[in-house]
């Protein structure tokens, strides 16, 4: 089920919210669990069994880790948990990628398996892993209530599209959380803002991207417009979903961590990755990079650590080589920045830093967007005049004009300008009155506009669903 669907907005959510707030406190987690399982079942009837099994195994491993915590074999259940979780992820997500590559490199003929990628497997697997590893490290306490644990893993606000919620962040709230009018109102506003980013901006930009891919009249300028559109689309898609997850979580009394912090205002790639998909970056930092030594090792080992983390980051995004190259592309940039670029960037005007970041990020999404290496090559050649195509034509200009306002709004919305204005207004009493008056109206209008788009259209998949 998509958040940005009529079924979710006008069937599922009102029913779940109604039930949740009617039932006594001791049944609230049960309502969340049942609705989350149904939410997942709706989109993946068969793979619901896989998720439930993963939850069960994660829970049992948690008990085992806790039981063995003072034994000399304490590592064993943790290793078992990693093998089971990663094994499941590799099987369902990467088997055919591995088979294809084995067949290509070794001229074998291993048959491809008929497996569909279970939605959200990358997210809930990482959540279960983080719980087990944190438990082993004694950074958290075991959760003996399987209902609570299952609620944590399957919680529908973040189940299929993140952010990756650490168990330690919600441990207390699973059993003791407070609800308030302020939280609910904040949650609703945040949810609708996210929904608007997804439907009004991301989907719109996605339409342009689709038009480009079907066009037989591509030009260099059209390649750039399409790639920039994709960069913005993926940002609004993903950050929109994160906003929706955070908003819904807040309605239910949970405080999820922020997942995006205006990444496009970054002045370096290093900073970009502190602002983009924060929950994934910190996950790899805490569970892969730091255990390998982080940057407290020799330079060579540090580069090795960076390469491994970014290889994994890339491949987490998809079972294709272009994702691997995408990850390694950032590895290279991060190494270069650490070694020399940062010193240069510090001396340059901020505008140059921003141009540097945006140029490299847009290029990265050209790599990300290619369906395989062949297409990546085509896109890059298209961007830099390597194909025999004109610089621009009437079609390009038509779509540039048609999407001009969308681009402008999207670019402004990707900066903290609106947040800054609201904060500033809140420092004046008149400003506060204006916000108090406008906010309910704007939120309601946005909800209705989004509904209009949903009823008019029919298909608006979340880009990160392949993860």
């Amino acid at each position: 089920m998509l958040f940005s669907s009529i079924i979710f907005l006008y069937y599922f959510l009102p029913l779940v919210l109604g039930l949740y707030f009617i039932v006594p406190k001791k049944y609230k987690n049960f309502i969340l669990l049942i609705s989350s399982l149904f939410f997942y079942f709706y989109g993946e009837p068969i793979y619901s069994i896989l998720m439930i099994t993963s939850i069960g195994l994660g829970y049992l491993h948690g008990l085992w880790i806790d039981r063995m915590k003072n034994s000399k074999y304490a590592k064993l259940p943790m290793i078992s948990s990693v093998i089971v979780s990663i094994g499941s992820l590799v099987f369902f997500k990467y088997s055919n990628f591995l088979i294809n590559n084995l067949n290509n490199f070794f001229s074998l003929n291993i048959p491809i398996m008929d497996i569909a990628l279970p939605i959200g497997i990358s997210f809930y697997t990482f959540q279960i892993l983080s719980y087990n590893i944190d438990l082993y490290r004694k950074d958290t306490k075991v959760q003996k209530n399987i209902l609570y644990f299952a609620t944590y893993v399957s919680l529908f606000p973040q189940l299929i599209a993140g952010p990756i919620v650490r168990y330690s962040n919600v441990e207390a709230e699973l059993s003791q959380r407070k609800h308030s009018i302020e939280k609910i109102a904040y949650g609703i506003s945040r949810f609708i803002i996210g929904l608007s980013k997804k439907v009004l901006l991301a989907n719109n930009l996605g339409e342009l991207e689709k038009i480009f891919s079907l066009s037989n009249e591509k030009t260099v300028l059209f390649y750039w417009i399409s790639t920039i559109a994709f960069t913005l689309q993926i940002y609004f898609d993903f950050s929109g979903y994160s906003d929706m997850a955070i908003g819904l979580g807040r309605i239910f009394g949970f405080h999820f961590q922020e997942n995006f912090n205006y990444p496009f205002i970054s002045k370096s790639i290093t900073e970009f990755w502190r602002r983009w998909h924060i929950s994934l970056g910190t996950w790899f930092r805490d569970y892969v990079y730091i255990p390998m030594g982080g940057n407290r090792v020799s330079k060579l080992k540090w580069i090795r650590n960076i390469l491994i983390v970014w290889f994994l980051t890339g491949i987490w995004h998809g079972a294709e080589w272009n994702f691997v190259f995408w990850g390694l592309y950032f590895a290279l940039l991060l190494v270069l920045e650490k070694l020399c670029f940062n010193k240069i960037l510090a001396r340059l005007p901020a505008v140059i830093n921003h141009i540097y970041v945006m140029f490299l990020v847009i290029l990265s999404f050209a790599i990300f967007n290619g369906q395989g290496i062949g297409e990546v090559k085509e896109i890059l050649m298209g961007l830099f005049g390597g194909l025999e195509i004109p610089l621009y034509n009437q079609v390009t200009i038509y779509y540039l004009k048609s999407y001009g306002i969308v681009f402008i709004i999207a670019i402004i919305a990707s900066t903290p300008l609106a947040t800054y204005i609201i904060k500033k207004l809140n420092t004046y009493s008149l400003g506060k009155k204006i916000i108090n008056l406008l906010q309910p109206i704007v939120i309601s209008v946005l909800l209705l506009l989004v509904t209009g788009y949903l009823v008019d259209g029919s298909f608006n998949p979340f880009l990160y669903f392949r993860f």
Binding site: M1, S5, I6, I7, L9, Y10, Y11, L13, P14, G18, Y42, G43, E44, P45, I46, I181, E182, I184, A185, Y186, I188, S189, I192, L200, N204, N216, E217, Q394, V395, I397, Y398, K401, S402, Y403, G404, I405, V406, I409, K432, K433, I435, N436, L437, Q439, P440, I443, S444, L447, L448, L449, T451, G452, Y453, L454, V455, D456, G457, S458
Partner: protein
């Protein structure tokens, strides 16, 4: 304190909108037809255990929920409004509006499809029409008149005509492009207006060798309002509906239309079709594979065969003055190979291939 009031209002509005629309959706009876979108709306899917487990039930229910959403037209209008007036997008679902005319983008020129259309026409000629008086004409779409005006995508019409002329053999080409203006078309529909076609009909008839004149005075006008054309529902904007004006006289009223497939007789104008899913079906009862119009008040024994699309339905009645019998063939529904089962081709018949640009640009639908 005021923050709390704001919070209560946000929650209240959210509940009103979500619960309100949810409850209306549950309790309102399902609509069968969308007149503005001219199609049947999906009904509630049947529940089976298999479809539930496979997920097909949910997919079907999702589509049904979209179709039956309350205030669907108005809600869709919000998207159209946002698209045109806030985002200032040049088109919405490939529809754009210029001077009150709703148009659908037809771009780019599909040269292969045009050649295919020409080949299909040649095929029909070679099979059945050799030695006959055969003409062809292309009906321009509304984009021809309006696309360039406000910088919308406009296909290469000169190339289209050039390709057709270069590939069609043995026929007389009748150029309609200079005979029509945008005023001859409906604002909310793809089609031309029958009440504006008198001069054009005379021109067509003369081009096919019929020396006769047609004037406005020969017809009386019947106006039907409101006519929501094919683009009206798709556009989802508050645009004034058209008035459908059809022309009639004693000759047209006395004519009989025979449907070769249904084996039924009817009148030229089927007024019951007005205010149905497609009001344009008033002309010859809509999409039909093969019709023959018999003209008991004919001034001669001449016969005409028109290979046509829906545009032909509204112009054929005006051509009755020149013929005792007009046969209309729609190759979208009837295969070329079957024509001799129904039509006696003879050299004293006039033949006209009359297609609009959209059909030619997507000609693979011709059988």
């Amino acid at each position: 304190m005021k923050n709390q009031i704001k919070n209560y209002i946000i929650i209240a509005l959210f509940i009103i909108i979500t619960y309100g629309l949810m409850l209306i959706n549950i309790f309102k009876p399902d609509n069968e037809i969308s007149y503005s979108e001219r199609r049947r709306l999906l009904q509630e899917p049947s529940f089976t255990l298999q479809s539930f487990i496979s997920g097909d039930y949910f997919t079907a229910y999702e589509k049904y929920a979209l179709d039956q959403f309350p205030f669907r037209d108005k809600i869709r209008g919000l998207k159209a409004f946002t698209s045109y007036y806030i985002f200032k997008q040049k088109d919405n679902n490939s529809l754009y509006i210029v001077d009150g005319y709703i148009n659908k983008i037809e771009y780019p020129l599909n040269e292969k499809a045009i050649i295919n259309a020409a080949n299909k026409i040649n095929e029909v000629y070679n099979k059945y029409l050799q030695g006959m008086n055969v003409s062809y004409a292309i009906i321009p779409d509304k984009n021809y008149f309006l696309a360039d005006k406000k910088g919308h995508l406009s296909m290469d019409y000169d190339k289209l005509i050039q390709v057709m002329n270069g590939n069609i053999m043995n026929m007389n080409y009748i150029d309609l492009f200079e005979q029509l203006t945008i005023d001859d078309y409906y604002k909310t529909d793809i089609h031309w207006r029958q009440d504006k076609l008198i001069e054009l009909t005379e021109y067509l008839l003369r081009s096919m060798g019929n020396e006769l004149s047609l004037t406005k005075d020969e017809f009386s006008k019947i106006s039907l309002y409101p006519f929501y054309g094919s683009y009206y529902g798709q556009a989802a904007l508050n645009i004034k509906a058209d008035t459908l004006i059809y022309l009639t006289n004693e000759m047209i009223e006395s004519a009989l239309v025979y449907d070769h497939i249904d084996k039924t007789y009817s009148k030229i104008y089927n007024k019951d079709r007005f205010n149905t899913v497609d009001s344009y079906d008033i002309f010859l009862s809509g999409a039909k594979s093969l019709l023959t119009i018999y003209n008991p008040k004919a001034l001669n024994n001449k016969e005409l065969i028109i290979f046509r699309d829906s545009f032909g339905s509204s112009i054929a009645p005006l051509m009755l003055k020149g013929y005792s019998k007009i046969t209309l063939v729609d190759l979208r529904y009837l295969s070329t190979d079957l024509l001799s089962n129904y039509i006696d081709f003879s050299t004293n018949q006039d033949v006209l291939f009359l297609y609009n640009i959209v059909i030619l640009n997507n000609s693979y639908m011709l059988k």
